[in-house]
Amino acid sequence: MDQLRDANWVLSVGTFLPLAGVLVMLFIPKAEEQLNKAVALLTALATLAVGVYTMTQFDYDQAGKMQFVAETNWISVIKSTYHIGVDGISLPLYFLSMVITVLVMIYSWNHIPSPGNPKAFLMLMLVLQTGMAGTFIAQDLILFFVFFEIVLLPMYFMIGVWGGENRQYASLKFFLFTMFGSALMLVAFLALFFKTGAESFAIPYLVENGGAIAKNTQVWIFAGMFIGFAVKVPMFPFHTWLPDAHTQAPTQGSVILAAILLKLGTYGFMRIAIPTLPGAAVEWAPWIGLLAVIGIIYGALGCLAQSDMKRLIAFSSVAHMGFVMLGISTLTSFGMNAAVFGMVAHGLITGMLFFIAGSVKERYHTLEISRLSGMLQQVPKLGWILGFCAMASLGLPGLAGFWGEFPAILSAYNPADGLSEEAFRVYMVIAALGTVFAAAYLLWLYQRTAFGEPNPEFTGQGDGHGHHHGDGHDEVHDVNTLEWIAWTPLLVAIVLFGVLPNLMFKIIDPAVTTIVSGFGG
């Protein structure tokens, strides 16, 4: 334990380092765009370096335990402490947030969305990184809440300022919706605090004492948390902010939103709601499972109805997060492992899909599926990458998506004791049906955008109409170096985790087992 305590600075540094970058950037004039970008990227890289160091120092044999724990007074009036730590569930997500931020920074090097101003854009991104990382390491409910809320603001501005035509509506909706959920969540946190004797907000303490709360009360407290987290996930029927936010957000925003932000909700379920309120979890699980499978089918149907590529990908998130929630709702360690794996896999794959959508938009100035076609001919590399990601997303074995999806389906056959087997077996079949729908909308997307002959709208410009050349975007070029740099790590990870799923299961499993054993599930 001493060894663990010795290194307990790493998490704080890893979390707050981006803020140092923000501080530096404050003093750099807005006009110095390259310098601003360089500082932001360096900060993100330094943060990632700390993250890598954390990974190397992490004791994988004790992945079930909190490590690098730091605990110090914070707001003593309300008995909230600065209490942080990571275990096998937090670590992959914590690290993923750092990786994604770096990749997004790299991508931003020449992709600052209109209306420009990289300084503000990148500063917001760094603040976002702090919020995301903090959420995954917080071991105190108030601290968790603060980080959870910190995330909102930068994302609100990212969508509201750098978003598409309908950005005002989308950003407002995103903000209010999440805020609404957070409010109920905070109430639930407070109730939990008071019901456990108003002693501490520390999660370990609450896990220990939460089970003693009367079941009826637990169910109500859980309801508050449920809404808070379900909005974030988002679960049906709280998902309607997501397609708008995703569609309107700049590419970078969409990637971060899909890769990390959605996981704050599922993470909250696993870290807080279920362990602290085990009695309520059992009561709620069938309903969560039901909403999860509704989300799977509903999200898929939503995808099938889309004519916009980005909006389709956004809806697919609803379906994929349904698989994650289905895994969680089984309350078994197998299901929860699948869920954590699913979170990371979805982060990698859907993040990648949003990157592609961004690049398609940049090249064709449209994401209208009916206008895109023959990408494989015009931009073969981009087309193949899209195909690869579509295959990963529909859960092809050998790629990362499968290990989130199939085990979740499998786990539903045999949920934890006390849960209705019949109900969950029905969920299993519905979820399995969802995989067919996933194949349908992704392949349909792929067939229409990548196969066939290129749309003459985008090909004739080179020789036919000379007058159209002014904007400098007429030439549809294939994947460029910067995109390769930003994407390769994700593509490699999708294959790597697909082939060697144990790389992740090994880390997650002990931590999940700890959680599940906490309530004898």
Binding site: Y156, L172, K173, F175, L176, M179, F180, S182, A183, L184, L186, V187, N216, T217, W220, G224, P237, H239, T240, W241, Y298, L301, G302, C303, L304, A305, Q306, T332, S333, F334, N337, F341, L376, Q377, L396, P397, G398, F406, P407, L410, Y413, N414, A432, L433, T435, V436, A439, A440, L443, W444, F451, G452, E453, P501, N502, F505, K506, I508, D509, V516
Partner: protein, 837 residues
């Protein structure tokens, strides 16, 4: 790193031989997988654009597979009589999660090696053939990459040690079929066919996922306890199924779910519709995917997990079960469709569907070995037929596959193609002594023998139809007068197969347009000749009519249904399961007694065949006189039982299937073998010849003389016209799927769901926002401005604070809305908490 090979034989038996090839068979799929990666990464830079890597990897796989097969034969020969031949299983840990761990590895036995060798062999020839056939194609490298990955997927599936690994291979094949069928994706029809193939099989795969889950959780504790393997393990599931411990619901549900996946993958009714469309792919793809590998995957899965289906589908239990039913329907409906096709590849596609129906029907009727043998023989002659069709289009008919428009009389120009086609056609029809005879006839024979009488008739009718439609296709292609492009009339461009437009872009094919039909070159004819040779000879590997010495496949491939482990002999005689001693027909009980007295007689060559009256062993001779009558199908399991007890006293074994071993486990159920009768063979041969002759006569009338009774019959007779229309429209199944189901889900349902999303769910959200805003405005106007402002006049500062708090609400700033919602939610939440405390 390596787990110890689990091939530990039981104490009583001799140690089984193995060897390097057999122990390391897992390398076989790894080679093409690596080759795939290399082709993708470096293929374009290589002198032959990556094709050399593909071909080499196939040759290497073939060599290793061949070596492993020979070592397996050695292993079988090293076993003592009646000893269970443990498969060579090796596993490595793949992942662990939540107390469930999964390995990846190899499960090598007769079945996996048979299919493995076939796959490697056909893949090699197809790749060689493709060197010429796709020369100049714009995606030559991609083609070879996909083809190689496809083989890797199939090989991985075949050697899979467990269900997850099997699913991995299964889905990789799905992916590759998508890529290969849609190889010329510029054309919408091709990409639609690719989508259809992937999507249809994926629909069946719901069953694969669900069935694997059901079986895993039902079997896992038993397999852990008894075999130390997980409930995903093929070996574990097989033994579990025969152990008597599975509940009938679980195993039935599991078997049905898995069979749904097999229906999708193996093109069985009613999910066969993707297979003919899949002919949109290049011909070598059709040959590889749709004759000998991918579509065989479903059949393979049934054969692989035969014990599960045996118990779950109650094989031998009655005169019909779901598998035979689906197989039987498939045989007939596909064969009927083959008659109305003008595209030569589509005839072959429906023929494949029909033949897969035979395999399924055979498996469903417990004719395990004939079905597996039919996989083996069918692979050769069907691959040959497809490649011959490709050769016709490549060098004969200017890339057309339309038999009616662009073929005819080609036998003069393409003698090798013609010869190999005819040989393979005769093999397919099951003409003695070509290979199809030995497998197909055995299926029909055994189906009848096992009591599935209706299906035996179905099989015979199917054989007649097969002979007839193949004769029609042969006639149209090779006989009669040259038509269309062959006759010199370059009548239309649009009838040329779509992909030629792309292929000829690159000049590779343009030259052909200038000369007439000619024989293809050696890269095409050599694979044809090799395949045709095997179409002739492959049947001899299990030539039942020639006596037991010729039944090598049976010896090498069929798993021996013996109890492994210590056997409590007292329990052996006890019958359990669906038949008990007192329900046995009196005759069989008598037989049981007779045989029981022969306790000391040592059994002959046969491991388990109390029903083989051809067997020379004395024991079999005892049984023979009672056989053959009506009772033949009703013989008891007890009989086999006692026979074994007598025959294999030293190895403590008993016959498996339909009853529970008291001690020890079973790995394979007991299967029946029909005794061969020349009379039955003569009957089916006569039926086949009748089919050929009738079809020939009709074809001459229809296509050459164009007169006589049959010409225009479908136009004159309303009933026949309706039937013809029904067939031409493929039973309207495509309409049902595409126009009704897919369009229904994709359009009204998806659109409806989206409408609900936008208008109702979002309406609630927006309504809540507007409502809050409205309330706020009302509060501001009525409370703030009137009440509070009124009070301000009296009391001052309070109102200013309140007004200040509420006024911004109206202004539409997000933070204020947020604060308001937050506060409202907090109050509501607190109320709830208070109520509940």
């Amino acid at each position: 790193m390596f787990a110890a090979p689990q091939a530990a034989a039981e104490t009583a038996a001799v140690a089984l031989k193995s060897g390097w090839f057999l122990d390391n068979a897992w390398i076989i799929p790894v080679i093409p997988a690596v080759a795939f990666a290399l082709i993708i990464l470096f293929g374009k830079k290589l002198p032959m654009k990556g094709s050399e890597l593909g071909v080499l990897s196939m040759v290497a796989s073939l060599v290793l597979a061949g070596g492993a097969a020979f070592q397996w034969i050695d292993r079988v020969n090293s076993a003592s009589e009646g000893q269970y031949i443990e498969p060579v299983i090796r596993t490595w840990n793949w992942w662990q999660s939540g107390g469930i761990d999964l390995s990846i590895g190899q499960h090598m036995d007769g079945l996996s090696l048979t299919v493995l060798v076939v796959v490697a062999f056909i893949s090699t020839l197809v790749q060689v053939y493709s060197l010429e056939y796709l020369r100049g194609d714009r995606r030559y490298t991609h083609f070879f990459a996909s083809l190689t990955l496809f083989s890797a997927g199939m090989m991985n599936m075949v050697i899979a040690d467990n269900m997850i690994q099997l699913i991995l291979g299964w889905e990789i094949m799905g992916l590759c079929s998508f890529l290969l069928i849609g190889h010329w994706w510029e054309d919408k029809a091709n990409s639609r066919a690719a989508l259809k193939a992937f999507f249809t099989t994926r629909t069946g795969d719901i069953g694969l996922l669900a069935g694997t889950s059901i079986l895993f959780f039902s079997a896992n504790s038993w397999t852990r306890e008894n075999l130390g393997v997980s409930g995903f393990s093929i070996r574990g599931l097989s033994a579990w199924a025969l152990s008597g411990s599975p509940g009938s619901v679980a195993i039935t549900a599991g078997a049905f779910a898995l069979f749904a996946a097999c229906i999708g993958k193996s093109g069985q009714f009613p999910l066969h519709t993707w297979l003919p469309d899949a002919m949109a792919g290049p011909t070598p793809v059709s040959s590889l995917l749709h004759s000998s590998t991918m579509v065989v995957a479903g059949v393979f899965l049934v054969a692989r997990l035969f014990p599960v289906f045996y118990e779950g589908m109650n094989i031998y239990g009655s005169s019909m079960n779901f598998i035979t039913l689906i197989g039987g329907i498939t045989i007939i409906i596909a064969a009927l469709l083959a008659f109305v096709q003008d595209d030569i590849k589509k005839v072959l596609a429906y023929s494949t569907v029909s033949q897969l129906g035979y395999m399924m029907m055979g498996l469903g009727a417990g004719a395990w070995l004939p079905a597996v043998f039919h996989i083996f023989t069918h692979a050769f002659f069907k691959a040959c037929l497809f490649l011959a069709a490709g050769s016709v289009s490549h060098s004969g008919s200017h890339h057309s596959f339309d038999m009616k428009k662009d073929m005819g009389g080609l036998r003069k120009y393409m003698p090798v193609t013609f010869g190999t086609w005819v040989i393979s056609t005769l093999a397919l029809c099951g003409v003695f002594p070509l290979s199809g005879f030995f497998s197909k006839d055995e299926i029909i024979d055994n189906v009848g023998y096992a009591g599935y009488d209706i299906f035996m008739i179905v099989g015979l009718v199917g054989a007649f139809m097969t002979a007839a439609y193949m004769t029609r296709a042969t006639y149209l292609t090779f006989f009669g007068e040259p038509r269309g492009v062959l006759a010199g009339g370059h009548h239309e461009e649009e009838h040329h197969d779509v992909h030629d437009a792309h292929a000829s872009d690159h000049g590779g094919h343009e030259t052909h347009a200038s000369h007439g039909p000619h024989e293809s070159n050696a890269l095409i004819t050599v694979p044809l000749v090799i395949l045709a040779t095997l179409a002739v000879g492959a049947g001899l590997l299990n030539a039942v009519p020639f006596g037991e010495k010729w039944e090598n496949m049976k010896k090498w491939v069929e798993p021996r249904p013996v109890v492994v482990g210590d056997v409590d002999r007292a329990a052996i005689g006890e019958l359990r399961g669906f038949r008990t001693a007192d329900t046995l027909p009196p005759d069989t009980v008598a037989i049981t007694e007779v045989i029981a007295t022969e306790d000391t007689v040592v059994a002959g060559e046969e491991v388990v065949s109390p029903d083989t009256n051809m067997a020379p062993a004395p024991l079999m001779a005892t049984v023979a006189p009672v056989e053959g009558g009506e009772e033949a199908t009703a013989y008891a399991y007890g009989e086999g039982h006692s026979t074994e007890a007598g025959g294999y006293g030293d190895s403590h074994s008993s016959v498996c299937g339909k009853k529970t071993p008291e001690v020890g486990v079973c790995h394979a159920p007991y299967v029946k073998h029909a005794p061969f009768k020349w009379s039955k063979a003569a009957l089916s041969t006569a039926i086949v010849f009748l089919g050929i002759v009738l079809s020939w006569l009709v074809s001459v009338q229809l296509y050459t003389r164009k007169r006589g009774l049959v010409v225009g019959l479908t136009k004159r007779n309303r009933l026949l016209a309706a039937g013809h229309g029904f067939l031409v429209n493929k039973y309207y199944l495509d309409h049902l799927y595409e126009k009704v189901i897919v369009r229904g889900v994709a359009h009204p349902i998806a659109k409806g769901a989206y409408w609900v999303n936008q208008n109702i769910l979002d309406g609630v959200v927006n309504g809540a926002g507007h409502g809050t805003k409205g309330i706020a405005r009302w509060v501001y106007r009525n409370v703030d401005q009137r009440v509070v402002d009124g009070a301000v006049n009296g009391s001052g500062t309070v109102a200013r604070g309140a007004g200040g708090a509420l006024r911004p609400v109206q202004s539409g700033k997000v933070n204020q809305y947020g604060a308001l919602l937050f506060a409202a939610a907090a109050v509501a939440g607190l109320v709830l908490i208070i109520i509940n405390t």
